[in-house]
Structure formats: structure tokens, C-alpha cells
Amino acid sequence: MSGWTFRRDGIGTFRFVSATYDAATGQARLEYAFDDGPSMVETIRFPGAPAPAHPQAVEKALQLLHLIAGVSYFKAAVPARIVVETAVPDAATAALLDAVYVEGLAEFAWRNGLDLRGRIAFPRTVAEDAGTTAPALALPRRSLVAIGGGKDSLVSVEMLRALGEDMTLTWVGESPLIAAVAAHTGLPTLNIGRALSPVLFELNRQGAWNGHIPVTAINSAILLLAALLYGFDSVVFSNEQSASAATLEAEGRVVNHQWSKGFAFERALASLVHARIAADLDYFSLLRPLSELAVTREFARHSQYHQHFSSCNRNFRILGAKPRERWCGACPKCHFVFLALAPFMAKPALVAIFGRNLLDDPELAGDFDALIEWQAHKPFECVGEAAESRAALAALAGRAEWKEDALVRRFAAEILPQLPPGSLDMAPLLRPGTDHALPSRYQGLFDAIQRA
């Protein structure tokens, strides 16, 4: 980076420089730059990908990926101007990108004291949109399922297995945890490689803005490209109902930590894919109709994964046998998953997963208060809605083996009496919702849950 210094607040333009896919190496190369600074190149590696059978669709998916993945670099300086030096997006695509950069960076902005509303405007073609439906590509009927090492994707996997669905499990980047969990399913896997530009780390040292990015949007775009390369007609994620709920509303702003896991993004991306890339490539979240509690209830039954999965937000890149090496016990994800599993599992089995009883630790009172939004706002994490956490705690307050534990007792004595009666029933929370975009072949899946 000789000759160029990164002055965060002096930067004027973020440039989308180039995006190429090399079929010989299976590598996508995404290039970005600030002003006339050094180019920042991200690479995505698709191991063993065959030569593209649908080059046009691949090109479109690559462009979309380039534009979405730029968010990691853009946020380092958040300049006023965005320049696309590759194909300029049409209006529909640009609208989605504006949303990804505003809503997806809402938490980042809020925490850094920025306000991106009205500041992001992707360039767009003035020509009329090229129709509303892309051609169908006769993609093979099989699913590319994103797996994250946590409970949600494993519930999806087992549901799809019960349907007899042909599937491959996939994840982006190195993760021994995910690899180990995926191996436990016994299903075929695909590990896509991703390397961020090293320049970004250098910028971080030089005072770049930092914070949360909509990583699910990026992974979704990577998986859509993968589906076209390897031949899948469905890209399946496992985001639930609660991902759509706002984490925080303040000063007229809505901030949702998991915006790119929410239903609005899912629908927008799915319809853009149908319109611009392939009419028969579906993108959806299988668990969209379910609450977190409904998911944990399902997961509790699959004890073969209990000693292997982790939903902890610390990314332990080396696996250890100790619970402490999979669950930090200190983050909201650990707290929520513990709480949400508790009503559905034998207590000794649950505490064996975490190596400790988080509900009996008085020091965690504040953390659990945040989960139930009791004199606190919901944490910036992918956790269930307050109603779910409240219902789970209320259920435990009625259970002899739990009710004397410090935080359950405290909830029962101090908080429960102040909550509106009738708001704590778990049953309505367990019933599948109707807001989802499941292709018809999966619709029957939730009948069993509906009846349960």
C-alpha cells in the first residue's frame, strides 16, 4: 500500500472494480477499491466445480455476489459515492442492494454513531427492466442446504431427510465445528472457500470503521452461485420467524441484528433470483414458519447431535472435547439456547451439553433480563423473541427440577407477577406460522408440528 494512506473520513468513493469466475480453478475473484487506493480482492473457491452449464445465469449470480459482498469493504470508510465499474444494476437489483447496505448495516451504523438512511444510492440503469421472469434452466431437483453447526440447520436436515430429499450440506469458510457436525449427519458436504482481502485487515489497523455486517446476505449470494455451478434447484437456509423481529427501535430507527436472516430479505432475494437469474432456482428458509422454541423442541429429540453442535457466537476454530470449547457460556446465544432447550430436555442431559447450569448463576441475571426484554433491550444477537424466552422461563418456573434455580426463582418471584397473565402460554408459540415462502413440495412438513 505504498504511496497511499487510508484516511477514513477523507475517502470519497467506493468502487466495484471487477468480478470474474475462472472455470478452470473454480475460483471467483471480486475486486473493490476506495478512490485510487489499492485494489481489495476477495476470492471464493468452489472446489471441484464443473464447467458452468448455464454461463449467463452464472454471470448474473456472480455480479449479484460481487455487489452484495462489497458491503464488507464499503463499511470500512462508508464514503458518500458508490461507483459500479462492472455492469450497472437494474432498478430492482439496485433496490435490493440499497436495502442490504442500509438495513444490513443498521446495527453497524447505530453502534458507530452513523446514520446511513438516505445516504446509500446504488447507481442503476435508466432502461426499463428486462422483464420479470428469467428463463428456467431445468436444474436438478436437489437441495443445497446451508449448515452452520448450530441447532437450526440440523433441524432442517432431519426434516428434509424425513421427506427423502436429495441434499448436500454446505458452508462457507473453514470451520472444524461445522465440518464435524456435518460429518455426523452422514450426508454429502460441500465446503466453499472464502478469503477476504488482506488489505481489509490493514485498513482495520489504520482506523477503519468496524462492526456487524449482513453475512447471511453474502452467504446466500455465494450459495446461489454454487447452486448454478453444481446443479441444485433449491438453496435452503434455516432462519426462523423471530429473525424478522427488530432488535431495537430508537429515535425512529429500526435496527435488526439479523436483518439478512429475516423474511423481508428472503422474499426480496428470492424474487430477484426468479426474475433475473433462473426461474427454477428457489431460495428460502425452511424454518421460516417456526419460532425458536418450536425449533429447539424439534432439536431436543435429535440427541445424536447434542454433544457436537454449538450455537455459541464465539467461533471456536479448533474443536475440543470440553463443553467450554464449544460454548463460552457468556454470550446471549449460549444463554438463549440453554433456556430454549430447557423445557424440552432432561435437565442432566442439558447441563451436560454446556458443562454448567446457566440458569443457576445469579451473575447472569442481567443477561437473561435482556433476553426477556425486562428493563433492557434484546441483545444484538440471533436469539428468539422476548415472548419465547418469557414463555420458556414461565414453563420452568412450574417445573420442580428447575424452579429452585437462582434465575428461575428470581423470575417467578419478581418478574412473573408483573407480566400480563395469558401472555406466557407456550402452545401458541409452538404452532407454525403462515408467513413463509416454502415451495409447494415442502408445505406438508409442518403438518406434524401443527398437530403436536
Binding site: P176, R314, R317, C328, P348, A352
Partner: protein, 878 residues
């Protein structure tokens, strides 16, 4: 030797029962040893009964057949088993046709899925399970005969008759049967009349009163050997396996655990019940009742005397023999509700446990509370039984289910007589969440039940504490044998001779010429340790924690070896700068504790690297005067580790930034323009678990993922130095491999470490002169001119240092004495209850070993006894 050459023994010749497990009998080479062992015992005038398990893995395969509802699968599994035995017969070089009747029966059983003469699923399963031993013993008999022994195959079912027990359910009657085991003269006569002196039979297998086959359940082969030993009134039973016996702690966690050479039955029973997997507790009681000793031996090392278990020695002094842990314990605490002194409360409570099929282990009771422990069982983990139990108990008491817990048990005879020696153990426990303490009514165990998370890494520490406090008297070599590491860890355990062994003369001369007390440091040893650490490629920066020993010669030697420095005070910084003028200030890491704002500001102004561990100190720099500088943050990531509560530094200590404060810290650093480039955690000292630093590093790395300015992780120091004899050295190879793995997983991050003690402890000795020898009753005090003012560690931490009489280095050490100093404090000691030469005399020079760390630097002039000399040897010259 041929079969007929075994001379017949007289009918009343004593018996020896030899038992071999599945992994022994499944190896062809082992049968040569088995035959040899039997031959030796026979030659010494014993009749021999060999009891064998099934080939390893066979019982599990038979169990799978017994649990399968699919006849095709059962046949397939049975055929695979048959083939395995035919192949093994071929390997042994014996005729596979010998197996024919068993294989036919196995195939019949697998096909029928029950319905044999003995009705019922369990009876069928038992008959199936017995096939493994019936086949292995048949092959074994052929192998023994082939080796020239006149051995006879014996059907265990003709000797062991199961007897139904009160409260025994149907399952247990067939699959976990019990056999009454008194001396059986009929059996002795029957076998004496069989024209052979060596027999081979099956473990695990027995017969019911109506002539059907039953099996003995888990650990069944050991139990069979015990039954036979009792019935034959054997001279002893020998259990042969892959390890020499029981150890003073689980060797997987404590490589310094001692082999237990001699135990009485009750102690052994207690050890087996509280965690040792080596021996099934069930096999001891038949032997205890009939007074037949049990020996445990290592098949791979037959000449090593293993553990010998026999009747209680009448003059045994109270001592702790072992410490064990059991995880996954659930405690149920029941508080009576207004039923104080109500008759029948306990009866009601236990009735509920019985009803739910839960067996209670430990009990603690008070007037209004009863707390019991439940071991982890499939039932407890896989069903709602705990919920149901608590629900029912809640009808008449207040219930609390405390889990997960770990039970830590000290085992030894006369526990109540040793409480004074448990000061440190109790202090250790005091800092943990202990829910229940149970002292067994037979005075053989003391159990602490605590939070499982607190028990991590506790066992090695406790074991060392118990030895240092002489509660586990490891120097008693009639009871305590070599360490596990010495027996099984190869090179790692064989520590080189200490450097001073070759310089005894020179040290005596130094003491004479320069006076005592004097510390003597060998720079060669410091360099050796430094190079060993620098060999760990994963670590790019080493800081010597100079508080261990700030002697300028040592600082200079380490600088030459490429070490940087870690200082905890401005004084230490000055010491480094005086010893090494012109040293780049960036090579000094300043990590003070509780320092004031000025100290931090000064350190930054001097250009040192600085570690912070509280938010306020960073907020004080908000004016940005050090903007752009990189800093480290020391985090409190969890429970500390180390040999003594005073030297552990996790929760409940003043060190480290709580994780909950990290976001505020990051914000404050940003506001001050400081860049956090290093995450640091130091969890105490004296750590021998080579995986520790990888684990700490991993915790730090997972935090660093959210802090993009971080480039370096510093998982601290605390590398253990073995003070106790036979204690294995820290495995630097394994330590390095763990860190390599960490580096590979987080290539963006580099590693730094900050050892202190490890570099200098073994390089230093303390020389003292005996000033007085005093006897009080049976107690001997050897007084010398060094004391707590010279070496504080024994008084402060109950630290254990080896002590040698340099004037009589090779004399037999037969006198037990306390080595004490001249300070008017009762804690003034250097070593308690040690063995010294009986002729130790006033004027002798004593050497206190491994005194190079935290020795001279902690010395004082208390009592105006003066400070010790410090003498540096470099290549032999003082």
C-alpha cells in the same frame, strides 16, 4: 517341555487363579506369556486356574445380536463372529474344528431369537453372551496345551451356581447374576481328582439353579476370578491387564500419579467405587470375606510388582492413598416444609427414589434438609425420571436439583485423623462452589461435591497438594510405587540429573569459602531451558517474567538467547535497563497490577509495551496523548489454575478484565486513540497440562475474531516445573503441537508467551548449613541458617523442595525430620517430614534444590537474620 513332564502336585497343593482380559486373549503373542505365567506358578507348587474373558469386542457383538429383532441381521453378525474365531484359531495354529460345537450352537441361537430350553428373552440373551468366553477358553486351552502344558478345559457353569437375590429383578437374575462364594471343598476335591494341575475356564459365565446359563454383568470376568479364588481358597488371585495396578489418581489426568503397591480390601473397594475404572468393585467382596489376596499385574511388564490387595495391616498409619473424581453427578436437595422432626420424613423421601428406580450414592443430612447424589445413568439422562422424581418429592418438601456436579473423593484409612494435613485442600475447596461434603462412616473417604465447571484441572493440583502436605505420603515406598509417567511415559519422565550432581565438591567449597545461606545459579541450565522454549516455533515472542529471578546475569543471558522481558513494576523495568543499557523499550512488556494512572502514563512515555486490565486506566488516557500506540489487554477468561490458591489468577482474584467489560474497554481505547493489538490471559502457575496454552489461546482467539486490530495472543506463562520426585516434566513437544494447531487455525494471529519460573527454577539451589539438631519426643528438627527469610515458598505456599545433605549425598536416608530455619515463627520451615541421613550433623551443608525461582527475590531481613548471597556459575566458574 511336554505335557507329561509336569509332575502331579499333591491334592492339597494351594491354588492360584490367573485372570486375563479380552485384549490379552485376543493377541496371539500374549498366549505365550499366559502359558509361561501358568508354568512358573505350577513349577512353584501351585495348582493354576486360568480365567479368561471373550476376545475383545466379542461381548459387544453378541449383545448386538441379542438386541436385534431382525433374523437376517442376527445371522450376519453371528457369521462374522464365527469367522473371527476361526481366523484367530488359525493365527494361534490350533485346529478350528475344536470350535465346531460352539459355532453350531451360536448359529442356532442367532437363528432362533430365543425359544431354547430356557424360556424368555433374558435367558436367551444370557446364553448368547456366554458364547464369547466359551469360545475363547476353548481356543486358550488348545494354545496352552500346544505350549506344553497339561491343561484341562473347565466349564465354569459346573462350578459357579447363581443364586437369586432379594429385590433382584428378572433382568438382573439372568444378566447380572450373583454367585455365593464360600470355600467349596467339593470343587477342590473334584478338580484334584481330574489328573491335571492347570485348568482354564470362562469368566462372566454361571449357571442357574434350573440348569440354564446366566452371566454376571459388567466386570464379570474379574468377579468370576474372585468367586473361583474364594471357592478354591486360593493362595491368591492375579488379574492381568495392560496396567500394573491402581494408581493414586487417574493417570490420564495426573501423569505423576503413583502406583499403589499395597492396599487393604476396604481401601481398594473405596477406590474402585469412587472412580477407578481398572477394577470392578464387585470383585472385591468375595475375596475380602475369604481373605484371599488379589494382585494386579501388567501383562506387558510381568516382572513389575503391581498392586497387591489384602487384609488390613494392623499397624497401618492413617494416610490418603488416592484421589478420584466422578463427573456428571446430580444432587437432589430436599428441604422439609414445616415438618421439623416429623417421624418418617427420610422414609418417605427414599421411598420416592426407590419407586423411580434411582439409586442414591452420597447423603448429607441436617435437621431440615437431606441432600443426596445420583450418579449419571442412562435413565437419568435419557428420560424424564428426574422431572418425575422432583415433581413427586415437591409434594412434601422443597426440592432443588443441582447439576452438573463433580464428586472429588479422597480415599484412605483414618481420614478423620488427617484433617490437620488437609489445610491446603480445604483452602482450595473454599474458593470453589462446594455443595456437599460427605465423610464416609467407615472413615475411608472424604468426598466434596462441587460444580463441574470448578472441577476442571483440579485433580492434578489436589494430588500435588496432598503430597506436599504429607497427607499422601509418596515417600513411603512400601505403599507408593513409581509414577505412571515413569512406568509408561518413556523419555518424558526420565528427567536428567540436576546440574549440581556433577559439582558437589565445588558447591561444598563455595559454602566454605563464601558462607551460607547462599543461592547458586547455573547459567548453563538457564540457557538450556531458554533454547528448549525457543524451539517452540509457534511462539514468535518470548518475554521472561523477571519477577521469578531478576539477577542481572540471568537477564543478560536470556537477552542473548533472544528473550524479551515482562516487568510488573517500575522497579523491575529499572532492573532490566540497568542490566541491559540501551535495550529497545519495545522489548519490555509492562504488566502491572493495580497501578496508578501515573505509572501507566510513564510506561507509555518510556516507549514500553503496556498491558491494561481495567477500563478506568484507559479512560484516564482519553486526552489522546498516546494516540496511535498499541496496547495489550489482560482478560479474565475463567477459572485459574496452579498449585496453590495464592498463585492462581482467574475469577476471585484481582487480575484481569472481566469479559463483560471488554466492550467498554474497546470503546475507551478507541476514544483514547489506542490500538488493542494483543489479547492476554494468564491463568496461574505450575501448569503441567500441555494443552493448557492452546486452550487459553483458543479462548482468546475466539474473542479476537471480533476485534480486528488484534494481531497477537499471549496465553501467559505458568509452565510447570516438577518439584516432586517422579513427577514428569512438562511436555514441550505437546505444548508446541497444540500451539501449532492454534496458529494454523488463526493464521492472522501471532503468539507471545511469558514464562518465568520455567527458565530459572531448576538452575538455582540454596546452600544452608546445619546449625542445630533437636529432638522433641519422636520428632526430629534439623535447624539450619536458611529459613523462611531466605526461601519463603515452603512457609507461604507449602511448597515442596527436595533437600539433600551435601556432605553425605549417598548415605542411606533413614532419619525422618523437619528441616527448619532460625526465624521465630512456627511456619519457619524448608521441608517437613523428610528423610535425611541418620548421621546428619551440625556443620553439614544442606542443598535445597529447584530454588532458582521466587527464592532470593522473595528473601527478607526479617528477624535481622540478613539476606542470602547470590552466586552465579557460568561454565563452572563462580
Amino acid at each position: 517341555m511336554n505335557a507329561s513332564s509336569n509332575p502331579a502336585l499333591p491334592p492339597d497343593a494351594p491354588w492360584i487363579v490367573l485372570k486375563f482380559g479380552g485384549s490379552s486373549v485376543a493377541r496371539v503373542a500374549r498366549w505365550g506369556s499366559i502359558a509361561e505365567l501358568a508354568r512358573q506358578r505350577h513349577a512353584a507348587g501351585h495348582r493354576v486356574l486360568v480365567v479368561v474373558s471373550a476376545l475383545s469386542g466379542v461381548t459387544d457383538a453378541l449383545k448386538a445380536i441379542g438386541e436385534s429383532a431382525d433374523v437376517g441381521e442376527r445371522r450376519r453378525l453371528a457369521e462374522a463372529l464365527a469367522q473371527r474365531h476361526i481366523d484367530f484359531a488359525a493365527e494361534l495354529g490350533v485346529d478350528p474344528a475344536l470350535l465346531a460345537p460352539w459355532l453350531a450352537h451360536l448359529s442356532e441361537l442367532a437363528a432362533s431369537g430365543g425359544g431354547s430350553r430356557c424360556q424368555g428373552l433374558y435367558a436367551w440373551q444370557a446364553e448368547l453372551l456366554a458364547m464369547g468366553e466359551l469360545m475363547s477358553s476353548t481356543l486358550g486351552n488348545a494354545a496352552l496345551r500346544q505350549a506344553g502344558l497339561n491343561s484341562r478345559w473347565l466349564d465354569a457353569r459346573d462350578c459357579l451356581q447363581a443364586q437369586p437375590q432379594p429385590n433382584q429383578n428378572e433382568w438382573a437374575r439372568w444378566l447380572s447374576a450373583s454367585v455365593p462364594a464360600q470355600r467349596d471343598d467339593e470343587l477342590r476335591e473334584r478338580l484334584a481328582g481330574r489328573n491335571a494341575d492347570i485348568f482354564i475356564t470362562q469368566g462372566f459365565v454361571a449357571r442357574t439353579a434350573d440348569g440354564c446359563t446366566a452371566v454376571l454383568g459388567r466386570g464379570g470376568s474379574d468377579t468370576s476370578a474372585a468367586y473361583f479364588g474364594a471357592k478354591l481358597a486360593a493362595a491368591r488371585v492375579e488379574i492381568w491387564s495392560d496396567v500394573a495396578g491402581l494408581f493414586s489418581a487417574n493417570p490420564r489426568e495426573v501423569p505423576g500419579a503413583r502406583l499403589l503397591r499395597r492396599l487393604d480390601f476396604q481401601e481398594a473397594q473405596e477406590i474402585a467405587t469412587t472412580g477407578a475404572k481398572m477394577l470392578h468393585p464387585r470383585c472385591l467382596s468375595p475375596l475380602r470375606r475369604s481373605g484371599v489376596p488379589l494382585w494386579i499385574r501388567d501383562t506387558g511388564n510381568p516382572d513389575l510388582a503391581g498392586t497387591e490387595i489384602g487384609p488390613e495391616a494392623p499397624d497401618a498409619a492413617p494416610s490418603i492413598k488416592a484421589v478420584s473424581t466422578r463427573r456428571g453427578i446430580t444432587l437432589v436437595s430436599m428441604e422439609t416444609i414445616g415438618m421439623w422432626q416429623q417421624v418418617g420424613f427420610l422414609a418417605d423421601v427414599f421411598e420416592v427414589f426407590r419407586k423411580h428406580g434411582l439409586s442414591v450414592d452420597l447423603i448429607g443430612s441436617a435437621e431440615t434438609n437431606v441432600t443426596v447424589s445420583l450418579d449419571p445413568s442412562e435413565n437419568l439422562l435419557g428420560s424424564d425420571v428426574l422431572a418425575a422424581l422432583c415433581e413427586e418429592l415437591a409434594q412434601f418438601c422443597r426440592v432443588r436439583a443441582i447439576t452438573p456436579c463433580t464428586a472429588v473423593t479422597l480415599v484412605g484409612r483414618g481420614m478423620r485423623g488427617m484433617l490437620h494435613r488437609l489445610r491446603d485442600v480445604l483452602a482450595d475447596m473454599g474458593s470453589l462452589s462446594v455443595h456437599l461434603i460427605s465423610q464416609s462412616s467407615n472413615d475411608l473417604n472424604l468426598t466434596f461435591v462441587l460444580d463441574e465447571a470448578d472441577a476442571e484441572g483440579l485433580l492434578p493440583r489436589l494430588h500435588a497438594d496432598l503430597i506436599a502436605a504429607c497427607a499422601l505420603p509418596a515417600e513411603e515406598d512400601e505403599v507408593f510405587g513409581p509414577t505412571w509417567a515413569q512406568l509408561y511415559a518413556g523419555d518424558r519422565a526420565s528427567r536428567p540429573q540436576p546440574w549440581w550432581r556433577a559439582r558437589v565438591e565445588a558447591l561444598r567449597d563455595i559454602a566454605a569459602a563464601r558462607g551460607t545461606p547462599a543461592y547458586v545459579y547455573d547459567l548453563g541450565t538457564v540457557r538450556e531451558r531458554a533454547r528448549a522454549l525457543r524451539g517452540i516455533g509457534a511462539v514468535s515472542r518470548w518475554h521472561y517474567a523477571i519477577k521469578a529471578n531478576p539477577h542481572p546475569a540471568i537477564l543478560r543471558a536470556l537477552e542473548t538467547e533472544g528473550f524479551d522481558f515482562e516487568c510488573v513494576s517500575p522497579g523491575e523495568v529499572d532492573a532490566v535497563r540497568e542490566a541491559l543499557p540501551g535495550l529497545d523499550p519495545q522489548r519490555i512488556l509492562f504488566t502491572p497490577t493495580m497501578a496508578g494512572d501515573d505509572e501507566f502514563a510513564d510506561a507509555l512515555a518510556q516507549g514500553l509495551r503496556v498491558t491494561f486490565d481495567c477500563v478506568e486506566a484507559v479512560r484516564a488516557l482519553a486526552d489522546g496523548r498516546h494516540g496511535g500506540r498499541s496496547i495489550a489487554v489482560r482478560l479474565d477468561i475463567g477459572p485459574g489454575r496452579g498449585q496453590h490458591a495464592h498463585v492462581r489468577t482467574g475469577h476471585d482474584s484481582k487480575f484481569g478484565l472481566p469479559l463483560a467489560d471488554l466492550p467498554a474497554f474497546v470503546e475507551a481505547a478507541q476514544a483514547a486513540g489506542l490500538v488493542i493489538d494483543t489479547l492476554h490471559a494468564h491463568l496461574g502457575s505450575g501448569v503441567f497440562d500441555a494443552g493448557h496454552w492452546r486452550e487459553v489461546g483458543l479462548q482468546l482467539a475466539s474473542l479476537a475474531e471480533r476485534l480486528p486490530t488484534v494481531t497477537t495472543l499471549n496465553p501467559g506463562g505458568g509452565l510447570g516445573v516438577p518439584y516432586l520426585p517422579g513427577e514428569p516434566a512438562l511436555d514441550l513437544g505437546a505444548l508446541g503441537a497444540g500451539l501449532d494447531e492454534l496458529r494454523a487455525a488463526y493464521p492472522r494471529l501471532t503468539l507471545a508467551m511469558e514464562p518465568g519460573r520455567y527458565l530459572v527454577a531448576e538452575a538455582g539451589v540454596l546452600l544452608a548449613r546445619v546449625s542445630r539438631i533437636k529432638r522433641k519426643g519422636r520428632h526430629v528438627y534439623v535447624g539450619c541458617d536458611a529459613g523462611m527469610h531466605t526461601l519463603l515458598r515452603p512457609a507461604l505456599y507449602e511448597a515442596w523442595h527436595p533437600v539433600v545433605n551435601l556432605d553425605r549425598p549417598d548415605a542411606p536416608r533413614t532419619m525422618r525430620a523437619d528441616v527448619v530455619g532460625p526465624v521465630c515463627e512456627s511456619a519457619d520451615n524448608l521441608a517437613l517430614d523428610r528423610r535425611l541421613p541418620a548421621d546428619t550433623a551440625v556443620g553439614d551443608v544442606l542443598l535445597v534444590d529447584i530454588a532458582g525461582a521466587y527464592g532470593a527475590v522473595m528473601a527478607s531481613d526479617y528477624n535481622r537474620r540478613g539476606r542470602p548471597l547470590e552466586i552465579v556459575l557460568d561454565g563452572g566458574a563462580a
